[in-house]
Symmetry: C2
Subunit: 88 residues, 2 copies
DNA sequence: CTGTGACTTTAAGTCCGTC
DNA sequence: AGACGGACTTAAAGTCACA
């Protein structure tokens, strides 16, 4: 059932690279979740890759981050940056 | 709530460009849905932009089409190709 | 500020059919 | 081949209290 590679968390395809993007903006989960009007706890579980997010929410998050929705689905690009390093 | 522009159908963010991609492959909705193991009726409604698809299924469809998941979220690129033409 | 578990509501997703 | 509907089951959405 899993399609995308598991770089981030247990649930491969739901782990969005948004974590990095958000942190780069220096915004907390709480603040960001509030900004895009979704529950902070729910957003947290998304970043942890525990949820199978829907397209609407992907777009919502992308908009909040100021990137095109497709940017969040770049599992490939992510792999390029984080080549499955266990030790660091 | 709607985030992405509505080029395809009533539900902006769920309208995937997969329609074009699938047709280019010369596969029917029925055949394709069967291939990736989702309901034909459901897949039809996705292409019509009536559904808020989950990420798992986006990846599933992308895999079936042989493109990276991010390719399906290119609303921007789509707009470039189809600049909101009403008459044609 | 974030993780987690328990929870209710809503929509996703399936399966049958017809036009 | 595809649009569309009804009835149904499952999972996601969304909220909250507490760690």
């Amino acid at each position: 059932m899993a399609v995308a590679p598991s770089v981030y968390g247990p649930r491969a395809s739901t782990a969005l690279p948004g974590h990095q993007l958000r942190k780069e903006k220096g915004v907390s989960q709480e603040a960001f979740a509030h900004q895009i009007q979704i529950d902070r706890s729910y957003f947290g579980s998304i970043e942890r890759g525990e949820r199978n997010v829907s397209l609407d929410n992907i777009c919502l998050i992308a908009a909040g981050l100021g990137v095109p929705p497709s940017e969040l689905l770049r599992f490939d690009a992510v792999r390029d940056v984080e080549p499955a390093r266990v030790d660091e």
